[in-house]
Symmetry: C2
Subunit: 477 residues, 2 copies
């Protein structure tokens, strides 16, 4: 361990990886894990392990982890549950330090013998000095190290970390988050959390210099006091967003059959998160919104919001959504109105906050409005509606209107002194030109470091929630 | 008026249309309205009216509505506000029966002289026996008649009607709704509602044989009692979904500058909608969800729900979202479990509701589970997760997995005796194959008459809200 290095750092920087239960057959997990390491460019040796096969994806196969020709730091297990105890023993003998058990069918099955087998794995791992990720999980996505488990994850790293008892949630969060500019330091799917738990990973991420923002999907918790301490420690320096699975009776039943976890009382979670200064969300979409807010927005220091863009209906909806989310849509201050008067003498008494652009008859006061509100002490954040549905009904208007709107916000956004959130809806629909135009606009926005939200309501909720985080952090002892 | 015909029917079946303030210049409203009529294939004569131009979009131009060579049933006004009173007079002399005033800048500007001009327009229209749509609005989209105002609206008609004080909301609702299979009978953007109001249109839609489901976006109301009666009458026979703009203080301010409406007290609206049996939503997305639910789902008669599809995390989220929305995720009844046992002996004690497909190890009990739950009295509705994010990471898995999932739900869905809702996420993202695969899947689903929702939470809320409607209707005196 290098000086100052976190004791779990070795898990995220393996020099070599063996895949136990590797398979020559495409589509099987034991094949996929080998291919994923190749796909993400893992730089160290990859050792497929299988009792009979000779090659897997062009690599020589070894009969056992013990037969690997060099040291093995990390093992990915795709062997059946019954074979895992022996693999753990062999890892111990080989000097392996970390094992990720994709292998499932343990306590989550509800069968006592499977739960007993899981405990046996834990005992043997302790004895062997081996740390476990899982079982029953997808393991790690660490792009800087060339480790991943789905083909549509970004290759380049970034400052967002996510830990999750569900691998599916990781897949959804990483892919959908990447479309909004999120890039990741470490993503950890840890399933049943038999050895390493949420608290271990949260502690690690608090110390990790590559991580600036953390999301966590948790289904149960083994040590509530430790989790509270870990969340508190982490939230003191980095925003942390928590999605709790199993908040309802039916959800708790599903949690039990998914990762064998005890969901625990929702009220206790709520209090713990509030005390710790973590932000709770109710689904993955909101999780992504918050990670985007913490990643791309300046700290939200108050609830006063200025809104521009979109026509009349969008303006009304914006005002309602912002105030329903707890923001205050500040009436246009007289000094701002007076500064706008020379630019739009005919409309200066009509326009307001939100700024309805359809009443301007072409007078482009939008950039000035953003600057004036952003520079005024009554405003803590600005939301800009791209308002695409109105003008994206033909390729011509898409070219004309989207391009000019895009240009305007790309110029304004990065220079704003206050948090600046954009609202641009989905690219979906059967028209290829429309899909391309919106995808391209989104890419340009996030490449410019701007936070883009799919609806006003979601932008408003993210701003309000982010403000809660910063307020709690400032008030913390 | 044909016997039994509603007194406003003539508005929606004009035999000829004049566009006053027509323009030869592309992009201007006076040009767009002419082109839109051509685009949607309006079958009667179109008379552009302009003091100087000779042709507009290939059509001869007339100096005045009075000069049109044939009778004029309907006029679209793009003239400036100050010219509208004279146009109204001319319409009266010509025998025009309905005028849609795209023309704005009336009471919404907040200027007393503009409000007075609006009243003058109303007086003259009354005198002329002319009914007004607007002013300050986009007017009609009636695909069966070849009338529309955006180029991306479907040409074919359907049973959904929408009325809205905002034209932008119509544009968003029609386009986004069309991507989920909604097709429209009449869409009415009515702006300031100077003459014809929400109550007139709701009364009309209650009687309209082409309309089966109604959505309404309202910012203010001029006669609360009449609106309550109209909503009550409509809701007794057709589902009606209401989005109220201006629910907050800031929203009410925006309502005033948008359509010059008085937003009114939110609590009064809430009570009125509940009394009337209308369903209230909080944004356009939820409006579309409800219109999709009422259009494509069988009536929701209870809150017990069965959920299938997706992996562990999705399963937990499904359970939580359903119960948070007020549905009950029914524990798997013993008789259903026993019927599944022969199909999946190894998993029969493990699986539950929601059904986590990741634990099945390939045993395809999903169709059987849908049928068993759908046929069991404990269940009132089924939600099926397509769960695409997990398997859409490569074109190969998209081809393999999406195709088989699609086939399975296309075969199951239409045969289900209970409401059957699908969850399939957005097609967005930069990969063309992924966009195409999901767009194609959505198209196939809605063409098969299936209701598709973008998230579990939204499907669950729509089911719960639809149930509220059917429950109230059944309980109505």
């Amino acid at each position: 361990m290098a000086p100052g290095e976190h004791p779990l750092e070795f898990i995220f920087q393996p020099r070599s990886i063996a895949v136990a239960g590797a398979s020559p057959e495409r589509g099987r997990s034991g094949n996929e894990y080998v291919r994923q390491l190749q796909h993400y460019g893992f730089r160290g040796p990859i050792y497929p392990v299988h009792p009979e096969a000779t090659t897997v994806e062009g690599l020589p196969v070894y009969r056992s982890v013990l037969d690997a020709p060099g040291p093995v730091d990390y093992v990915i297990s795709c062997v059946p549950a019954a074979a895992l105890p022996q693999l753990v023993d062999e890892c111990g003998r080989k000097g392996v330090r970390a094992l990720h058990a994709f292998t499932g069918r343990f306590r989550e099955t509800g069968r006592p013998e499977a739960a007993a087998l899981e405990q046996e794995v834990r005992r043997r791992a302790r004895r062997a000095g081996l740390r476990l990720i899982g079982p029953n999980c997808m393991g790690l996505y660490v792009p800087r190290q060339g480790i991943g488990f789905k083909y549509n994850f970004p290759h380049e790293p970034g400052p967002v970390a996510f830990l999750s008892q569900s691998g599916g949630n990781c897949a959804e969060l990483v892919y959908r988050g990447s479309l909004r500019g999120l890039r990741f330091s470490k993503v950890i799917s840890y399933g049943n959390g038999l050895d390493l738990t949420e608290s271990d990973f949260l502690d690690y991420l608090a110390a990790d210099p590559e991580t600036a923002v953390v999301g966590a999907y948790m289904e149960g918790v083994q040590d509530g006091r430790r989790l509270l301490a870990a969340l508190q420690h982490l939230a003191a320096s980095k925003p942390v967003v928590v999605l709790k699975g199993g908040r309802t009776r039916a959800g708790a039943r599903s949690v039990s059959s998914h990762t064998g976890s005890l969901a625990g009382a929702t009220a206790v979670w709520d209090v713990a998160c509030r005390q710790a200064g973590a932000i709770q969300v109710s689904d993955l979409e909101e999780m992504i919104d918050l990670l985007v807010a913490f990643r791309f927005l300046k700290p939200v220091q108050g609830l006063g919001v200025g809104v521009v863009g979109g026509g009349g209906g969008r303006t009304v909806q914006s005002a309602d959504d912002c105030e329903a989310a707890g923001l205050t849509v500040v009436p246009l201050p007289p000094d701002v109105r007076e500064k706008l008067r020379p630019l739009a003498p005919a409309f200066a008494d009509w326009i307001g906050n939100p700024l309805d652009i359809s009443i301007l008859a072409g007078a482009n006061v939008l950039p000035e409005m953003v600057k004036l509100m952003g520079g005024h002490p009554a405003f803590d954040a600005i939301i800009a509606n791209v308002g695409e549905d109105w003008f994206l009904d033909t390729p011509e208007s898409a070219g004309r209107m989207l391009t000019s709107t895009l240009k305007s916000y790309l110029a304004l956004g990065p220079t704003q002194p206050k948090p600046f959130a954009l609202v641009l809806g989905t690219s979906e629909g059967p028209d290829e030109w429309r899909w391309r135009a919106i995808e391209e606009a989104k890419r340009q926005f996030w490449e410019a470091g701007l936070a883009v939200f799919p609806t006003i309501a979601r932008a408003a909720r993210a701003l309000a929630q982010a403000h809660t985080y910063y307020r709690r952090r400032a008030a913390a002892p």
